[in-house]
Structures are given as C-alpha cells and as structure tokens.
C-alpha cells in the first residue's frame, strides 16, 4: 500500500505557542485514518497546515510523494517581466504626462492636419529625456511587489484544493445564503475556470457544461439524501443535514484525500451509524479519508489506523486495537473509556 499523505516533523508556531510540534505520520492510500486527542491538542491546526490555511514553521507535507506548491516557470517569468516593464512605463508616463502630452501635440491646432509621426518622435525624445529615472523606480517597486506576492502565494488553500485535498470544518462553513445545489457546484467550478466571456454570452459549450455539472451535483445530493432541498438555502437546513451537505460539498471535486473535522459532532447514535456508513461508502470509491473525531465509537468503528496528538505532539499511532491499550493514550485521556463500549 502506498502512502497518500506523508507528514514529517511538521511544526506550527504562533508566536510563543507551538500548536503542532514535530508531528510525523503517514496515511495509506484508500484508508480511513483518525486523528484523536484531548481538546487543544492541535488537531484542527494540523488540518489547517495540511490545507495551507497556515504556513508550517518547519517540516514537510508530501502528497503522493510531491509537495503542493506553486512552481516558478516560464509563464511566471514572462508575467513578472511584463508586469515590471509595464509598471516602469506607467510610472514614467504618469510623472511626466503633461510634458509628454505637450511634446506629442507639438502646438497642434484644429486647422492643421496632425503629423502622427512627428508627434510620436517628439514624445519619445521627451520620454528618454525625463522618463528614465521614474521608469527605473517604477520597475524596481513592481519587481519587489512581484517577489513579495510570489512568496506569500506559494502555498494557498485553493491550490491545495485543486490538487485533490478537500475538507470540512469543525464549525460548519456552508455558504448559507446559497442553495444546496450551488454549494455543491462551487468546488466543481474551479475545473471549468472563470472565463467571463463565455459565461456572459451564454455560449453553447458554457450551457452544456453547466447542465452537465448540475446533473452531477444532483447525483451527489441524492447520495446524501438531500435532493428535495436542492434549491433551498443551505442555512435553512437542520443541523444533521448541513453536516451531510458539507461532506457532499467536499466530495464534489472528487478529491483524493478528504479531511473531515469532527463530522459526528452533535449527532446521536443512529445519526453516527449513518455517518459511519457514509464514510465507508466514500472509502469504497477510492477516496482516502483523514478525520478528526471525539466520538470514540465512530473512531474505533471505522478507522484503519489512528494517530493520537496531545499538546501538539504525536504520542501514539497504530491500529485501533493498539491505541486502545496504549498507556500514553489512556493517560492523556485520564480515565476516559477508550474501548468503544458505552
């Protein structure tokens, strides 16, 4: 079995607080792995680093052997170069626009025919005379801005999502005022791109694509039993349905890795059993699942392997049976039953 996700020595610090402390583990492809631990152990922070919500202070995250980050290629060089040149040009033009304009018009009045060639030549000469310093300054500032922008954008959540990692949130973050159908459509939209012309003109291929997306989204809604609510605002659904919708939304982009953050929170026993069935069904389609959960019945019931965190450190990892008997885990939970028995 190959590792889908490999986390090595991952560390996340917020000023003085270390939320994740040199955590290392692997997630096998096609498995269901649970991350458990007392409150404040750093579980959600771990998810946040994996999805690039926060940048790790140290350590590495490999997804199927590769890091997810933007690479600097030829396109980037061209774009940055073009932007720098343009910015320099604009700065030079702006600072001396009046003199350039006067040079260009060279005392034209409405009675004579305008000599375009002469105008351009004069303007160019004026530009060379006064515009070189502003050009340099503008280009330098633009280059610095490009560099700064590049650095801040190397790993972003939307990039991670496009590479096949989707998540749900501890506090449900649906788009409440959009319909359930639209919530499902959004992750799929990124594949189609955001070309405005085709959409604005409703060209045929845009219409076809949209129809195909909608039927695919409806199929997903059927999977979670929310077809009837397709056009209702997501915020109007009952709590359990919202959780299901969030999971459906995460599945919508057909991710290779699904991160579920406390999916069973607030659920009773029958709802949890439903959830467990759903998660097993998701695993059956080939998606790897990593979940944070407090409900031990769920955890022990469906996990193939478990990672235990406490105070940001990994204190144990292994199969459910191993974890159940692990002394450090029992100590961390201080007497809480970890057998999955009521």
């Amino acid at each position: 079995m190959t590792a889908l996700l490999e986390v090595s020595e991952l560390t996340l610090c917020f000023g003085g607080l270390t939320a994740v402390d040199a955590v290392s583990f692997t997630v096998e492809k096609g498995s269901i792995t649970a991350v458990i631990g007392p409150n404040g152990a750093g579980k959600t922070s771990l998810f946040n680093v994996i999805t690039a919500q926060y940048q790790a202070s140290a350590g590495r995250i490999l997804v199927e052997g590769a890091t997810i980050e933007r690479q600097w290629g030829r396109a980037e060089t061209l774009r940055a170069g073009g932007f720098t040149l343009l910015a320099g040009l604009l700065t030079a033009l702006a600072l001396h626009c009046q003199s350039l304009w006067s040079a260009f018009l060279h005392d034209w009045n409405s009675l004579t025919k305008f000599a375009w060639g002469t105008g351009l030549t004069l303007a160019w000469e004026e530009f060379l005379r006064t515009g070189t310093w502003p050009f340099a300054i503008g280009a330098a500032v633009a280059a610095a801005a490009c560099w700064q922008h590049w650095h801040s954008q190397r790993r972003t959540p939307d990039l991670v999502h496009r590479h096949g990692i989707a998540r749900t949130f501890q506090n449900i973050r649906l788009f409440r005022r959009m319909s359930c159908l639209e919530n499902i459509l959004i992750p799929r939209d990124t594949r189609a791109g955001y070309g405005r012309l085709a959409a604005a003109l409703r060209l045929p291929w845009q219409r076809q694509r949209e129809a195909a997306e909608i039927s695919a989204a409806m199929a997903l809604l059927e999977l979670v039993g929310l077809t009837a609510a397709a056009h209702l605002p997501a915020g109007s659904l009952p709590y359990g349905a919202q959780r299901h919708l969030e999971i459906a939304r995460a599945l919508s982009s057909k991710p290779r890795l699904l991160l579920l953050d406390e999916p069973a929170a607030g659920m009773n026993e029958s709802e949890s059993a439903d959830l467990m069935r759903l998660i097993r069904g998701i695993r059956a389609t080939g998606t790897t699942i990593l979940l944070i959960e407090h409900d031990m019945q769920v955890v022990m019931g469906i996990s193939d392997s478990i990672v235990v965190l406490d105070h940001g450190e990994k204190i144990a990892a292994g199969t459910p049976a191993e974890i159940r008997a692990h002394p450090a885990v029992i100590a961390a939970y201080l007497g809480e039953t970890v057998e999955g028995q009521p």
Partner: protein, 333 residues
Amino acid sequence: MPDLHVLLEILVIGLSNGMVLALIALGYTMVYGIIELINFAHGDLLMLGCFAALTGVSMAGLPITPGSSHAWITIAALMIIVPAFCAGMNGLVERLVYRPIRGGPKLTALVSAIGVSFIFVNIGLIWGGLPLWAPAGVVNALGIDPAPFGSSASSFKNIPALLPAENLLPSHWGVGIRMAEVVTFGTTIPVLIGMSWLIRRTRLGRAMRATAQDPIAARLMGIDTNRIISHTFLLGGALAGVGAVLLCLRGDALHFQFTGFRAGMDAFTAAVLGGIGSLPGAVIGALIIGLVRSSNDILGESLWTNAMVFAILILLLIFRPGGLLGSTVREKV
C-alpha cells in the same frame, strides 16, 4: 542638497502638523483596536470641533487682540469646551448608531460610519452658514465686517487669530517658530504623556487593552465592554477636540467638507503606517506623515502631496499591512 534652514523649516512644520495629526490618529486607532471599525466620521468630528471653536471665539467677544490675556482666557476655555463637545458627539453617535448594530457584518458598520460622516458634514455646512453669534449691532459698532467667517455657507472660513504670528526666534536663525507651534507642542506632549499613563497605569486603560485584545474574555473577567467602548469613543472624541482647537490656533482655513476628509485620510494613513491598533504607532505614523507633507510641500510640488500620501498608503498595504509596530491578525478557523 537643501540647506539647513529649509530642513529645519520642514522639521518644524512637519512635526507640529504631525503632533496635531497624532491626536486624530489616536482616536482612529483606538476605535479600530477595540471594535475593528474605521470611523469614517472621525475627521468630520474634527471639523465640527473647529466650528465649535469658531463659535466659541465669536461668543468670547470680537475683536480679540492676539496674545492678550483675553485671548489666552479664550484659548483656555476652548480647550475645555471643544473637547467636551467632541467627546459628547462621539459618544452620542456610538450609542445611537454603532451600538445597536454591533455584532453584525463589518460592511454594515462601515456604511453607517459613512452615513454619520455625511450627517456631520451637513451639520458643518449649515453651521458655517449661520450668522455670527455676536449681535449685529455690537459687531457693526466695532467696525468689523459682520461675516469675517466667510460670506457663504460652503466657503472656506477664516479663523480670527488668537495668537501672535511673529517668529519667536531671532530672524538670522532662518527658521520660524510662532507662538502657535509652542502651544501645539506644549499641549500635545502633555496630552500624549497623559494618554500613555492612562492606557498603561489606570484600570480604565487596562480594561481598554483587554477589550481590544479579546472582548469575550474581557466580559468573562467582569469588564463591562459596552461601557469601555463608550469610554473609548469619548476619549477619542476629546482628543479630536484638542486637535480641533490647535488647528484653529494654527490658522488653517476651515471648510465643511475638505477639512474633515483630508484630516481623516491623513490620520488613517498614519494609523496604518504605525500599525493599526497600536497607540505609539499612530503617533509615530502621524509624525512621519506630517514630515512627508511638509517636505513635499516645500521641496516638491504641493500638487502631488495628496498623491504621495496615498502612494505611501498603497505601498504600505502591499508590503507591510501590519505597519511599523503592528502585527498581522490571523483569522481563526
């Protein structure tokens, strides 16, 4: 390389303008720090304070000889009345407008602040069009033009001078310090020291800092956050009031719209420059903005000064949105 007295002149003008700006910037940054609201109306509050000062001066009995004891008594009275007025206005607005919508989306609060700003501007417009306080008979007997404050509601108003305009330094020094500069420094420095003491040593200051850092925790500790927020607005208003009096003493012309707008933009840029939410940062930022303005006005073309300040704001926001002394706030997932 500009010579020494040009540099000194830039320094004097820039720092004194910057000190006044600091008072306004503090109001901005305090309110932002505590409820994350850009109080668009703050600059216009300053403008209203100037109008209050103007009315106060006319009530004190014109003409007033600059530098006389009559003038000094008027100044002292203004220093009490105008900050009180501005504090009251700010507190009133907080109670009536911002408190009922607290907890809602930020866009709502921002738009409300714009609304309040507009209301203030209109008050300024009407106020500027009202006749002088002193009865026409008195005014005419003294041989004064009954409308020395500008002939129509929307024009620039000139403020009668209360302080002598002569240079206090020997002329061969090449740089001028008027009485107005002395009063400016003499007022703002104690005020800033007082603010610093208030924030760091008193219970109110501690409560304000706690509410700014974590309102929920502050409430759990028993702090009445509503009251603290009110106090913040009152304090910010009072500071703006002091700034208004100083502006009037410095002889800037008053306009019901431009004064507030310009002051607001500059003060906000200063606050962002120093790190929004940081009080010493606001002061430092204001001094820098004051110096930038004075150097551009004197060395370069004053045409471009506004654009310069704006360019600084944009560059800051691109490269260092946390400002000089601030830090970036992360959103909690």
